[in-house]
Each structure stands twice: as C-alpha cells, then as structure tokens.
C-alpha cells in the first residue's frame, strides 16, 4: 500500500470535496514491516505453545455442546409442558450456536488440525449447517479470508445482495435491503448455502452448470437431512408433543440464524471498518496484509460467555490476523494486538454488540439510498507530501432518511 503511494492518484470523494485517508496512511514501509514482524512473533509463540490445555478445551466444548444438544432434545420429547419447551428450546438453541460457531467454523478453519485427531479435523468435520462443509471452506477460508474487504473480490461484502459500501453502484432494488437483511437474518444458514452456490456467477456464465449441479444436489441433500431430523423425526418421536417440538426446533434454528447473522455482520460492517481496492493485492506484503485484516475487522466486547457464544468471532480482528490459531487463544493475544494498534497509531475497532449492530443497521439503511460516500466512503491512500495536512473527516452523525 505504502509503496504504491506515489503512483496513486488522489480521488475526490464525491459530494465532499475532501479525500478520506486510510487509518494506516501515516505508517512508513519500515513501520509496516516491523508491525508484521511483531504479529508474526505472536503467531509463532502461540503455535509453539499449543498443547494439552488447548486439547482439553476443545474436547470440553465438544462434550458440553453434545450434552446440551441431547439434553435439550430429550426435554423436547415432552415439549407439550411449557417448562420443558422453554428449557429444551434454550438448550438446543445454545447447542446449535456452539455447534456452528465455536466448533464448526473454527474446526473447519483448521484451528485444531495440529492435534492430528481424525475426529476433530478440518478435512473430516461436518457441521449442522445446510451449507456442506466443503463449499463453505472454499468460499470462506479461501475467498473471504484471503480477499478480506477487497471490493469486487470479497463477496462477503454485502453477500452479493446488499449494498454495504457506497462504492457499489446504487440500484433501485437496494431500497429493499433493510427488508432483505431482516429476511436474511431469519434464514441465515440457507442464505449462506445459496450464496455459496454462487447464483450470480452461474448467471454471468463464470461458473458452469456442470460445476454447479453436483453442488446444488449436495446442498439439497444436506437441507433434507437437517429438515428430516428437526422437522420430521424428532417431532414424530415426541408423540403427543410433536407440534410443539417442531416449533421448538424451528425456534432453535431461527435463534441461531439471527444470532450468527448479527455476530458475523458486526465483524466487518460497523463504522470504521475499511474496504479496499483490488489493486492493493498486487505485491501486498505480509505486514500490509495484516493491516488490511485489522482495518477491515471489528471486535465485540463482552464476557467470557459472550466470547464463547460468538465462537470467539468477537475477536474478529485476532481471528482475521490468525485464522487458523485455536479460538481459545484469541482472548489471550487480544491485549497484545490492541497494544500494537495503539503503538502504531491504528484503530482497534471494538464495542458491545448492541452498539456495533446498531451501526451495521444504520449503514444498511443509509446505503439503501444513493450516495453515502460522506459517511461510509472508503479511504484512499494519501501521498507522502500530504501526510500531516490530512485530517480524518468526521461525518455528521445523522441517519439518512
């Protein structure tokens, strides 16, 4: 990024007459390299110290998750009785959240591959999610984590259905995006599965039918299995409680959808997260890659239980710096990452969930309408000569109507 400063032409942000400056624009190439070395050292330290304690942790989470799931389902066999419905639905919701977030997401990232346990490995694990693990691993581990917040490359920016950066050209359909987002939130896992089928690429011809067909078939098989389990077999097993068990299972799946949608949207979309142009990728150094990950991600603050329930995606910054380190270590290295950010004058975007989620919603609402560059426009690298004079513009806090 910095090496390219000299050949970057200044772009004027429409409507403001001022250019935005990346929060990392003040760093010299040497500083970027030093920052990269510090983060590399943290990574090496964690890798060298992975051991028994971590293995015990993931086994404990797996046991707890399975206990909650089977306990919850056992209670729901008697779901006609309201206390059993409430306790069972709560247990199953928590179990399903843990299963997707702290277990599925992280194990499929390869965070636990180092144990060489064939039952807890990115190549053998499957999750209770309608998107088959193999497709999700490609779109998420490769595309999203490699091209994080690169406009036009990271399809997770708005998931191809929402305008989440003002650089994306406004279309009238974007007026519907607040509704789209509510809908997506309710059916999030189906949304992710559909998104991974890449209907947009099939339409444009970038992805062939021959490639898409088996993927679509596999996704439908996965949907069928989950639906059979949650909406047919367990209700049938519940006998007179069949209907209330069906509603309970639907509730648990919906709770998980809404929760994981909220956590994941808070990871990259709150105010202050930067997006980048594709040309940045060319010759990007490790230090620059780290900076892109840090500036493009945002953390959630909260209790230990909160971190567990987000699958430690509350440490989105640490996760994006080191996607394959065990999730239980993110909280431990977070103070050091924050310290690095402070010393290098970089923002460390963190806030409680309600606040961050409100910001996400405000952005989705604002960008449903044309414009939005004033508040949400991406930063441009600033030429050296301008550093010092550049002042980060503070946008007036108001909701676009």
């Amino acid at each position: 990024m910095l090496r390219r400063d000299t050949r970057t032409t200044l772009e004027i942000v429409p409507g403001t007459g001022e250019e935005k400056v990346s929060a990392a624009a003040h760093l010299t190439a040497e500083q970027v390299e030093a920052l990269g070395a510090e983060l590399d050292a943290i990574r090496e330290e964690v890798v060298a110290s992975r051991g028994e304690r971590d293995a015990r942790y993931i086994h404990a989470v797996i046991r707890a998750q399975r206990g909650l799931e089977f306990g919850g389902r056992a209670l729901l066999l008697f779901s006609k009785f309201p206390p059993a419905w409430i306790a069972g639905t709560a247990a199953l919701s928590v179990a399903k959240i843990l299963e997707n977030m702290e277990l599925g997401h992280n194990i499929l990232h390869g965070q636990w591959d180092w144990m060489r346990d064939p039952k807890i490995h990115s190549t053998t694990w499957d999750w209770d999610h309608v998107d088959p693990a193999e497709f999700w691993k490609r779109s998420h581990n490769y595309e999203h984590h490699t091209f994080t917040n690169i406009r036009g490359k990271d399809r997770d920016l708005g998931y191809t259905v929402m305008r989440i950066t003002p650089e994306e050209e406004w279309r009238p359909t974007h007026l519907l995006q607040p509704l789209t987002n509510v809908g997506l939130s309710l059916i999030f896992e189906y949304g992710i599965a559909l998104y991974d089928i890449e209907t947009d690429k099939i339409k444009s011809g970038e992805k062939s039918w021959a490639e898409a067909k088996p993927q679509i078939a596999a996704t439908f098989r996965k949907i069928g299995k989950q639906a059979a389990k949650d909406y047919v077999l367990f209700p049938l097993l519940s006998g007179p409680s069949a209907l209330s068990t069906l509603v309970a299972n639907l509730t648990a799946n919906t709770v998980r959808n809404v929760w994981s949608h909220a956590v994941i949207f808070c990871g990259h979309f709150p105010d202050g997260t930067e997006t980048f142009e594709e040309e940045r990728l060319e010759g990007e150094t490790q230090g620059e890659w780290y900076i892109r990950q840090m500036l493009g991600s945002a953390n959630l603050t909260g209790s230990k239980a909160m971190h567990l329930m987000t699958g430690n995606l509350s440490h989105q910054i640490e996760h994006h710096l080191f996607p394959d380190l065990p999730s239980n270590r993110y909280a431990e290295i977070a103070p050091r990452v924050r310290d690095i950010c402070e010393r290098y004058g970089l923002p460390y975007n963190a806030g409680p969930l309600p606040k961050q989620y409100a910001k996400v919603w405000r952005k989705i609402l604002r960008l449903a309408f044309p414009g939005g560059h004033e508040r949400y426009g991406a930063a441009k690298p600033t030429p050296r000569s301008r550093i010092g004079k550049a002042v980060r513009r503070v946008a007036p806090a108001r909701l676009a109507a």
Partner: protein, 362 residues
C-alpha cells in the same frame, strides 16, 4: 467373538445405527459413543492399559484391553499404538507379544533415546491410560504349517516379535528350534527368565550371547553355535548393522530365501541428491514444506495433515499416495521417482522425500 461384539455387527445393529444416524446428523453414532467413552469408538479403536510390566530398565510390556472387538493378529506382527502427547496424536508400531485370541493384547515398548513416544510409553504410561490402537500388520510371521527346522537370531529388542511367535508356538514345534539371542549382559535380556524357562520346559535350544564379554555375533560364531544354520528357516530381528551382517552372510554362504528379517528402523541410503520442497496434498488442499531428508509423511503431519500411515518404515504400504506432480526420492533405495516419467505412480510417503515441489493425491 463375544456376544456383545456379535450384536454390534448384526443386521439389527446396523439398522439401529442407520436410524440413530438420521437423528444425530451430521454426527455419526460413533461420534456420540466416543464422546461418552473413547473406548467405545469403532472408527478410532482405543485400548486401556491394564498392566505395566517393567521387563528391563528400558523395555516395558504394556498389557492392553481393547475397547471394541479387535481383529486377531498373526504372531510376529506389529500394531500401531497412538498416544496424545501435549495435545498431539503420535503413532508408532510395536510388536505384539501376546497370543492371538488372548483377551488382552500385549506389546513390548523399548525406549529409544530422543524418541517422542517410546520414552513416554516405556516409562511414563500409568495403568488406566487410554491409547489408540492401529490394525495389526507385518509379514514377519511364521507360515502354516510351521517349518520343521526353525532358527531365530535376535539382538536387543529384536526379541519382541520373536517372543510373540515363541509364545504362540505349540511345545512340539518349539522342540528342536534354536534361538540365538544377543544382548550386553544376562540382565539386559528382555524376557530373559521366561526364555530360559521356556528352553528348560520345551526343548527349545536357547543360545545367549552376551556381547559385553563375548563380543558381537559373527558368522563363524553362529556356525559354531548352530552347525546346521544353513538348512534352517530363519527369522532374524535386531539393529540394522546386525541384520546387514546376517543378510550378507546368508547371501554368501546360505540360501537367502530361508532368511526373514524384520527391521525396526527404515534402512536409509545417504542423503545425497534430495533438495526438499513444498508438498501439496491435493485432497485436503494442505501444503507442507519438507527438508531434503524429511519424509513426506512427517512433513505433512507436522503441517497438521491427516495422512494414512502404518509401519512408518516402508514395509506395509498403508501410507502410499499417488504422485501427481514433481519428483520424490526414495530414502531407502535412493531412487528418484518423477511424475513426469511415471504420472500417478504410488509412493510410500513414510520413506519418500520431495525433490522439489510435489503434489500427491492425499
């Protein structure tokens, strides 16, 4: 087979498992069973250590109770033992010393200096420890029917596979058989008292050579001790140098067809030609970097890949993967296998090192 294991394999049980599978998808019943008790897993068999016998200062017999029914071994074979050390599963193979059909399995573990696993297993594995169990394998076994004139030549911990054979042989077969065993002193002999007792009871002739006083076994010394060695079908196990001497002798003065050897460490040629390189595992997409002498298997495991493995020394061919691109060097023969000449050639990952960047279908 016990009635419990018969039930586990019955058609009813399969139907029950299939129905349970629908209720717990994407888990499989084995996942749930192994969460409740690791010993109940069938896909990842486990055994509990029920007795630890210190044979000599560096060799220990571990007596194991397998958690699920376990396919019987043939005497002389080895099996995989896995242990989680600092969170990481490590696997090595050890000779089975119990008889086929015994309810408990025994393996003899000799601590290798600097070994990650053997030291832990030999010295620091209390009763109650749960270990992983790999299938029994190996061709170092006696044929049916048992040959009439048997000779065993062993040194040090090389006695362990032969002990498995001796324990399984009928007294009539042992009568007339000869065991020449070399170790530093009488006290160092693994299974010493049992071997001497067996010789006294059965007519097995035991020739102990104590190298601290008598020096190493030479072909002449062997001929002196066993004049008819050349007509005996022979099983030999011990250090590499010991086996090389025997193999040379049988080639020169005997019938190499009659000599069967078992090596505990892969035979390696010098490390001349290799360059090391980057290994891409096509199935998992994992990538690992290997030094010139690092076998593909070890480099892959260090990078977190789950790879098929067995003897880990080039014998059992469990670990083979097809070479899709690049070249590997066989660490045992020095042969260089290039995918450009032989696309898709299966290579043994445990004894092959990359020569440049390679891709395997694993």
């Amino acid at each position: 087979m016990s009635s419990a294991s018969r039930f586990r394999d019955s058609r009813v049980a399969r139907r029950v498992r299939a129905a349970a599978g629908l209720l717990i998808t994407p888990l499989v019943p084995d996942d749930v069973l192994s969460t409740l008790n690791p010993l109940w897993s069938r896909s990842a068999p486990r055994a509990r250590v029920v007795k630890v016998v210190r044979e000599t200062p560096d060799t220990t017999t571990l007596v194991l109770r397998p958690g699920t029914s376990f396919a019987p071994h043939r005497p002389g074979q080895y099996l995989g033992i896995g242990l989680q050390v600092a969170g990481v599963w490590h696997w090595r193979t050890y000779s089975v010393t119990s008889r086929p059909g015994d309810p408990l399995l025994s393996v003899a573990v000799t601590a290798v200096p600097g070994g990650v696993l053997s030291g832990r297993l030999a010295h620091d594995t209390p009763v109650g420890t749960v270990v992983g169990l790999g299938p029994a394998a190996g061709e170092f076994t006696l044929p049916e029917p048992t040959p009439e004139k048997l000779l065993f030549v062993t040194a040090g911990s090389g006695i362990t596979p032969v002990m498995g054979m001796l324990r399984a042989l009928a007294p009539a077969d042992l009568c007339g058989a000869v065991l020449v065993h070399c170790d530093r002193t009488p006290a160092d002999v693994v299974f010493g008292p049992e071997l001497r007792g067996l010789a006294a009871r059965t007519g097995l002739r035991l020739v102990e050579r104590h190298t601290a006083g008598q020096g190493r076994l030479t072909p002449d010394a062997l001929a002196d001790a066993v004049p008819d060695w050349a007509v005996r079908e022979t099983w030999a196990c011990g250090p590499a140098g010991f086996l090389d001497t025997l193999a040379t002798h049988w080639e020169r003065a005997g019938d190499p067809e009659l000599l069967h050897v078992e090596r505990f460490a892969p035979k390696r040629v010098g490390s001349a030609a290799g360059t090391g390189g980057r290994i891409t595992f096509a199935t998992s997409g994992l990538v690992a970097d290997a030094e010139p002498d690092t076998p593909v298997l070890l480099a892959g495991e260090a990078a977190g890949a789950l790879l098929p493995n067995g003897c880990r020394m080039g014998i059992c061919h469990t670990c083979v993967g097809k070479l899709q691109a690049g070249a590997v060097r066989d660490l045992q023969s020095g042969e260089v296998i290039d995918a450009a000449d032989q696309p898709g050639r299966p290579v043994r990952t445990c004894v092959s090192a990359p020569s440049g960047d390679i891709t395997l279908d694993l």
